[in-house]
Amino acid sequence: MAKGVLGNDPFRRGAASRTPEEKQPAAAVAEKAVPKAPPAKRKSTAKGRAEASLIASPAETEIKQPIRKKQARGNRAGARKPEALAVQPSAADDTQQVTRAIQDATPEQPQEPEIPVPEDAGEDLPPSVRHGLRTRGAGAERLAEAEHRRLLKMQAATDLDPSAPIRPDDHRSPLRPRVDSAADDGSDAEAEQPSPRTSVAAQDPAEHLPPEATGGNRTGASLHSVAGALALARDVAAQTFRTDRVGQAARVADGLFSALMTGIGASGSDQVDAYGKDANLAKKLSPISNFFYERYWRVTVEGAPHVPQGPSLLVANHSGAIPIDGFILHQALQRERPDLEEARWLAEDQIFHAPFLGTLYNRLGAIRASPENAVRLLDEGRPVITFPEGVHGIRKPFQERYQLKRLGRGGFAKLAIRQQVPIIPVAIVGAEESMPLLGKLPGGFLGLPYLPLTVPPLPARWMIRFGEPIRMEGISASAAEDLLEVQRLVERTRESIEGMLRALLKERGTVFGG
């Protein structure tokens, strides 16, 4: 489950992470419980409205903390009124805080979902059913009463002093007043708000708490007004996060934040595999990587079935001022060939040991390019992605795009011969244009050979083509020392990649279109 917008403590359990799908089962339950205590609703609605104007007084800011949880339900119906909906979702802070309130309140009565219904719905039911509903309501009422008494005691203790300390365990207190103001704004707009959104709220029983407000346990109008405001704010937040876009934005922000924190080395996960890959980070980043993969770069993959089961050495052209081709190719394999062992890509030292980028890549699955690491990965039966051009591939200026550089010193061919694994040539088109290298800035202060001068990722269309495997049939493992044999293999691989690159470039009409 994705984390809150900011990904750090106070907002960690934010409702931003709750997707509408997750709530569906509960909504189904709600349907059964539809006809329930309509009179209570009507009463409290009126009350909630009347009291909406009271809520901003400082003394109440203090009380509303303790009473929030249960008392809020007393005014639930009023809170659910459309007035709540006028609050602008743009106030991201507020919605966050409100979201927390929802999260806190929801688990308490999950089996008592309720939905606003026509006032007469309850009358149509057989008496036994109605009785059942009422007894459940009564139970909730008793609960609420006990809570209420406790709160009153607490209130007496603090003597309504606005500066009095709030419950020590309540770290959200500073945020309360802002919620109020949001609710306050909302009350003005009540009249002109259309009702359809209310019905959206009705689908989610989590926000709708049982109607224990039968009048017996009401003591202070202020308590109720505050509670009403809170309940209202809660619904606002629910509405806001129901809309996919905000939820999505929250997840994206969360992913970016975790990537940033991981990159600077401040919050490494304690669940990494032996090579340092953090599966959770990849999951968190998936909204972003999916967007880039599917919608921004529109990656098309051909020839994925060419990758055989078991170990194989994927040899691809390297490009992009900041090389992301390894990650994308690894994503492509994951999508197209989920049957294979998880692929890893080898990153040249300049990238692997680069601050931020190297750390982040390692958590995403990159491994330092060295024969020893490659052998280890191949022994595990994985496809291993290599870019033999290394840093020369990403250092070439934009006008030399798609011109294959020297394929290292043929280490990949030696490795394939020695390990007797097939080489799969791979051509990647699009990476050059999405991050063209425009210039090089001195990067010595960061321990880098240079700082690439580039643009933010451009929406060039990506094409990945896997070539026919070059198998080691007829080449014995001892031929790894035979320079001629190695050279022949390197040339074969090179021709294959160049051929595919030419073909792809010809097929591609425009760089960004299509």
Binding site: G263, G265, G268, S269, D270, V272, G276, R368
Partner: protein, 320 residues
């Protein structure tokens, strides 16, 4: 030569540094081991009383130490000698540490050379590989060691070289070198625990190398296995799993403060100079590059399967 297959009631085992960090871990296991008849404990401090323990106060840094060692071990050779007298925590004045770790090891090897020990077990550190950008993802035992690093590391490297030479001369006396990952646990004092138990831990901005750890129980288990192991040579003794440094700091209850390189160096130097608690500046490279050792040889040849994840080791540190 079947060193430990004699028809005798049990093994006679000598332990130097019996009250040190490792000695404290190993001693209870040896005492509980029914196959061990006697433990010759050699240290400056007195180990807890036990009928099995034969305690000798010997300072390995003194030049008479070799004669005292001969006297302590007596006429018959010990079945195994655990040389655990090392200074795991860096001290002011590396001279004493050098005397103890290198010269002390030399004296212990002299004893073995005279046939007074049938088996030798030396602890070392995975830190001897040093932090290097050239390391593979998992370092095997045959990887080259750090050429010149801090005293703390180079003394261990020197000691290992002595053991290596000894093994070449006396292939029939099994000598085991256990390269331990940073030992984290209650009451354990070494640069790693000092570094991690701070509230605010300076790290390098943009770097988060993978670290390993070793739970004290696993360390004791590995040492104990050395008593009867068929294999000899060098073994990496590491916990299961790896952790990014920042995760380790967090699990230890601290907060990592990523600082840009030069600033981190200065901070570490200041901590070393004014903090009074030795966190050497040379640690900087260890928080820059990965140094993950491959524990598979110990698994196969020694039968050492770690029972604790690195997370547990850090948790053990936190409890302390």
């Amino acid at each position: 030569m079947a060193a430990d297959k004699k028809e005798r009631p049990g093994l006679r085992v000598a332990v130097t540094g019996a009250t040190g960090d490792l000695g404290r871990l190993l001693l209870p296991r040896l005492l509980a081991d029914p196959g061990v008849r006697q433990v010759v404990a050699i240290d400056l401090a007195k180990p807890p009383d036990d009928p099995k323990i034969d305690f000798h106060r010997i300072d390995l840094t003194r030049h008479e130490a070799d004669r005292e060692l001969f006297d302590a071990l007596g006429d018959e050779p010990v079945d195994a000698l655990f040389h655990l007298a090392f200074m795991w925590g860096p001290r002011r004045g590396g001279h004493l540490a050098h005397e103890l770790e290198v010269m002390g090891s030399m004296r212990v090897l002299e004893v073995a050379e005279r046939g007074l020990a049938r088996r030798l077990i030396f602890p070392s550190l995975t830190a001897v590989y040093g932090p290097s950008p050239e390391h593979p993802a998992m370092i095997r035992e045959d990887a080259p060691l750090a050429a010149a690093h801090s005293r703390f590391v180079s003394d261990k490297v020197e000691m290992e070289a002595l053991v290596q030479k000894f093994s070449q001369r006396h292939p029939h006396i099994p000598a085991l070198v256990l390269r331990l990952a940073p030992l984290l646990g209650e009451g354990v004092d070494n640069p790693a625990t000092r570094f991690l138990t701070r509230g605010w831990v300076p790290t390098l901005l943009g770097f988060d190398p993978l670290w390993q750890a070793l739970h004290p129980q696993d360390a004791a288990f590995a040492l104990h296995l050395g008593l009867r192991a068929q294999a000899q040579g060098i073994f990496n003794i590491v916990s299961e799993g790896v952790l990014p440094l920042s995760a380790m700091v967090r699990l230890a209850g601290g907060r990592s403060i990523p600082l840009p390189g030069p600033l981190a160096r200065g901070t570490l130097r200041a901590m070393d100079a004014y903090g009074g608690i030795g966190v050497p500046e040379s640690l900087l490279d260890f928080i820059h590059y990965p140094w993950v050792a491959d524990g598979s040889r110990a698994k196969e040849a020694l039968g050492f399967v770690p029972r604790h994840h690195a997370r547990d080791a850090v948790a053990a540190l936190r409890r302390s």
